[in-house]
């Protein structure tokens, strides 16, 4: 008997930019794009850094052994989108030095790609996403506004981010992509191109608080992501993936059951 009946999945792994399930978010767009094909498993954790992401990954990604025994979903694609919090300025508790950020990304990729890793998953395609540009003044205003709305508890927020530093982390993510051969969505560049420049006013429509993407910002990401997938992993185009359960018009109304029972697409096969 099958252990369960989960189908293949996409894991979105990262920080608050990934965590969002709002209208137009990466998660919502991806779930809609892969509707009836792949489940979207959102493992975005607001405020988390690439350093924290390693022990978290070990908790949320199934081991090779579990997958081989058929007890876990196959993650066909994982997006790794980190660095926005690492780029906080020291002495912020979220600050991760640039070189450590790079080595953390290397470590995450190695956990998936190294045959020695307990999480080895050669069937899991990886896409890196680098952090988007930011607007310093809008971000500080947003933090002060929140502080005021919560009764000015604690010290008044000061600037904990810098747009030039954020860009360094975006570049570093691309370095890791080059070093590992893992495809990367250059979101920093894509947003700046869509905005027509790096000016605060130009970036404004894409970043609702100076740091987090608006639906328009996510649209830029999603366009770049699907273009990259088409180029690097055409086998992940939803049109080429089998549909979970047949189209309703392919079901024989006189004898419907066989149409559903023969579907083995992505099913867990672990015998109990």
């Amino acid at each position: 008997m099958s252990a369960s009946a989960y189908t293949d999945a996409i894991m979105l792994f990262g920080d608050s930019l990934t965590q969002a399930w709002s209208d137009g978010s990466l998660a919502q767009r991806t779930a809609e794009y892969y509707s009836r094909r792949l489940d979207v498993v959102n493992r975005g954790f607001g405020g988390y850094t690439s350093t924290w992401a390693i022990p978290v990954f070990e908790q949320v990604f199934a081991t090779k052994e579990a997958r081989e025994k058929g007890y876990a979903q196959n993650v066909k694609l994982i997006t790794i989108w980190l660095g926005a919090n690492d780029a906080c300025l020291a002495p912020s508790p979220q600050h991760v030095p640039l070189e450590e950020y790079k080595s953390n990304l290397h470590r995450l990729i190695s956990l998936i790609q190294s045959p020695d890793s307990a999480y080895y998953a050669p069937e899991t395609k990886i896409v890196l996403i680098n952090p988007p540009p930011m607007i310093e003044s809008k971000w500080l205003d947003s933090r002060i506004e929140k502080w005021e709305s919560f009764g000015k508890e604690g010290p008044k927020p000061d600037q904990n981010r810098d747009a030039k530093v954020a860009k360094e982390y975006a570049e570093a993510c691309k370095d890791v992509a080059r070093e590992t051969g893992v495809p990367v969505v250059d979101l920093w560049q894509a947003v700046v191109e869509a905005a027509g420049g790096e000016g605060d006013d130009q970036l404004d429509p894409y970043l609702y608080d100076g740091l987090h993407l608006t639906s328009e910002g996510y649209a830029v990401l999603f366009k770049a992501l699907t273009a990259l997938l088409d180029e690097k992993y055409p086998e992940l185009n939803p049109e080429t993936l089998p549909m979970r359960m047949p189209h309703w018009s392919d079901v024989d109304p006189e004898d419907p059951r066989p149409a559903f029972e023969k579907v083995k697409n992505g099913r867990l096969t672990g015998e109990l």
Copy 2:
């Protein structure tokens, strides 16, 4: 070693009304509402009827044995939303007679609630959702428009639905709720109330093709659903559920790992 690391889930089970992952859909709203708390597993299948839903359920819902051994997600809540296609007029292949619709819903509930069922899941709370009202003319226009846009292939669509019949199925779903004690969202009534009446013009903003809900229609559903959950299953309020992984400000930056490893919320525990 843990087999995997999926957390507890909500399963949305039904037809195309459930399948949608669009902006403002039931799935998107539920995923956002339960962000960091429960995964949303969308098992909506466009065009499917309550008769087809039974063999499908047996494929997509984990067995009791699998869950007890820790190899499958615990479904904390399942929404069962069927009947819109059953209400197609005979001789449509989707037509399911009213009494059969009711007995199918009884069967689905029994598969979850009966201790003799291989799918017995006493921890799974159930909510029924009845089909919304429909607009006959808008639905037929939409079908004809689609037929024209596909080069008028096949016979010109005729009317295969009836608003009064749809209402009978909505009432029948409420009968099943009464007979089984399972809570029901009376979506039919909620939409008519929000619309201020059953007139085509009144219902228009809620149904984009006369049958499927707009974001405004889903908003009516979601408001009614969360109110019902608060009343019947207050333990499912996201504020009362543990958050997957701690809030970032609760992580010790000097020693982050223990914060993530101690989290056992909803993890699969199957030993390999």
